[in-house]
């Protein structure tokens, strides 16, 4: 009887395991093939490498991979911090303050959420040229902030609207300034929403490609996605170097994801709390 019960519970595990294989096999193959000696790459794709060959990694690093990663860190961190400050201030005003035009401003921000970047690509490029922002970090950071704002404001607004007003009132009676209340009370208590926005936008900015592609041509400013494409152009058929560069650049974010998977899933699913 017990045996039968166990058997009945088996199909879901089998189905999910099979589906997981479809996702995991390409990723394992990537890591395995990236350390194969070049002549072993062809013919038997699933054979383990006879020796671990780090040559692909050496060529990838020599090609400036860490430089691309550095650029991605600079652009992503700056854009996330600015998005949080600018979006947080706006969300706080909209959720916690009464003023004329509040609903209009909220509607404008929400409506911008529906505009995709490639829908306004040409004039956006013209604007960046006008402000002399092409081939600069800011040329990526400022548009990223802009396109990150609507969603960030929505998440932070939804969190702040439920924020306990008594705490803020008490601090106000104690004579704290609005900025003081914001920094010492609201920000620490809003950490779940802030982390959620940071992860969601961080992943989006880290991986963004289209805007970087039209804004940056200077190799020393390229972020990881652009760098990978440049590698593909330069190394053409040096598969192990290309696989090595995909592996190195994917690992940091995969490791972060596995450590913080609960926060990631909540955040990328679009939930603030």
């Amino acid at each position: 009887m017990k045996m039968l019960d166990r058997l009945r519970k088996l199909p879901p595990y089998v189905a999910l395991s099979l589906y997981s294989l479809v996702l995991l096999v390409p990723l394992f193959w990537m890591v395995m093939a990236s350390v194969k000696p070049r002549n072993e790459l062809f013919g038997k794709p699933f054979n383990l490498p006879s020796v671990i060959d780090w040559g692909g990694y050496q060529r990838a690093v020599a090609g400036g991979l860490f430089h691309y990663m550095m650029n991605s860190v600079i652009v992503t961190v700056s854009a996330v911090v600015i998005t949080l400050i600018v979006g947080g201030l706006a969300a706080y005003a909209l959720a916690r303050m009464q003023f004329i035009g509040r609903n209009v401003i909220y509607a404008i921000i929400i409506a911008s959420y529906a505009i995709p970047m490639h829908g306004i690509l040409v004039p956006l490029y013209d604007t960046l040229v006008f402000f002399k922002l092409t081939n600069t970090y800011l040329g990526m950071i400022l548009p990223y902030v802009t396109f990150g704002l609507p969603f960030s404001v929505m998440i932070l607004y939804a969190f702040l609207i439920d924020f306990p007003g008594e705490i803020v009132e008490a601090a106000r009676i104690d004579g704290s300034s609005e900025i003081g209340i914001l920094w010492r009370i609201v920000v620490p208590l809003s950490m779940p929403a802030i982390v959620s926005v940071a992860i969601f936008q961080g992943v989006a900015f880290w991986n963004e490609f289209l805007l970087a592609l039209i804004t940056i041509s200077d190799d020393s400013l390229k972020t990881i996605p652009l760098g990978l494409v440049a590698f593909k152009g330069r190394y053409v058929t040096d598969w192990t170097a290309i696989l090595a560069s995909i592996t190195i650049t994917s690992l940091p974010i995969l490791i972060l994801f596995i450590i913080f998977q609960r926060q990631f899933i909540r955040s990328l699913g679009g939930y603030g709390k």
Binding site: P11, Y13, A15, L16, Y19, S20, L23, L24, P26, L27, A33, P45, F46, V86, L89, A90, Y92, A93, M97, F99, I100, R102, I105, A114, I115, P116, H118, G119, I120, L121, V122, P123, L124, D126, T127, L142, V145, L149, N207, F209, L210, L213, I214, I224, L228, V229, W239, I242, L243, I246, T249, S250, I253, L254, F257, I258, F264, L268, G269, G270
Partner: protein, 287 residues
């Protein structure tokens, strides 16, 4: 009159006005003009750009691919996502659920460019394993290559996009499934309903609104596809895998037809914005 709220909202509005609002209006206005990337003068051409869209065979391909992508995204991703969500919710234990959820979601944090390059290698007839698997199953891989065939390549691109993003649909549907009252399932089991019947007659109907939202999100995502096509085929072979976003990029930054690129953008904006508003409306109903 308090100044503070306006000061707080001002930076966000400045960003949106300069880098979203102004370009948005310009896109619409300059879709009626003809100009290239370096020209200082812009010629008013009325509806010419839009009329050209009707005649342009590449635009027809891009439109067809966009519709295919949009429709197939929904009919493939939603059912698979629903089944995965139901299995994660009720089919396996808590620890297993967390492990599987992590795996199912993992491809989403990778960059599309990395995923695209990886699959390019997997599909390579010499270095990759796709042909190896297909031959092991007794089938013949396409002679022009997975990414060089004018008919099947667009579906290969879709497959790769779904490979990366079904996890997204799954997580949203799972969040909805977890809100369903467990006593409904218990009552159904007492009445002799099988797990499959519970799924079909409890989970799916009660998730109706979530399914609508996730479908709309998939459609919007399908209309935004750029990175996959750019990395995997650059729109080729010929123009067989062009989608609206790659066509805008090509017309504007390769051929210098900025006005024409704006006209494509306007059409695409119109469709995306409509879907976006529907999504916001239904999202409100869900939460």
């Amino acid at each position: 009159m308090p100044v503070l709220p306006y000061l707080f909202a001002a930076p966000a509005l400045v960003f949106l006005a300069l880098l979203l609002g102004y370009p948005l209006i310009s896109t619409v206005v300059y879709s009626f003009y003809s100009y290239d990337i370096i020209s200082t003068t812009r010629t008013f051409v009325g509806f010419d750009n839009f009329l050209q869209l009707l005649r342009d065979p590449v635009a027809h391909i891009a439109a067809k691919n966009a519709v295919l992508f949009l429709v197939i995204s929904v009919i493939v991703q939603i059912p698979i996502g629903l089944v995965l969500a139901a299995l994660l919710d009720r089919g396996v234990g808590r620890t297993a659920s967390t492990v599987f959820r992590t795996i199912i979601f993992a491809p989403m944090v990778l960059s599309i460019v990395a995923v695209g390059l990886l699959w390019q290698l997997i599909l390579d007839p010499f270095a990759g394993f796709a042909n190896f698997l297909v031959k092991a199953l007794g089938m013949t891989p396409p002679t022009a290559g997975w990414l060089g065939d004018p008919v099947i390549t667009i579906y290969v691109i879709m497959f790769i996009a779904f490979w990366q993003y079904i996890g997204f649909c799954t997580i949203l549907l799972l969040a909805g499934a977890q809100r369903i009252d467990g006593s409904l399932y218990e009552a159904a089991t007492l009445d002799g309903a099988s797990e499959v019947q519970s799924f079909l007659f409890i989970t799916v109907p009660l998730l109706r609104n979530t399914i609508v939202v996730v479908s709309l999100l998939s459609m919007i995502g399908a209309l935004r596809v750029f990175d996959f096509v750019y990395v995997l085929t650059a729109g080729g072979p010929g123009d067989a895998t062009q989608v609206p976003a790659t066509m805008i990029y090509k017309e504007a930054f390769f051929l210098g037809h900025m006005g024409y690129a704006n006209a494509i953008s306007v059409l695409l904006l119109f469709v995306t914005v409509c879907l976006g508003f529907l999504q916001l409306r239904y999202s409100r109903q869900v939460s």
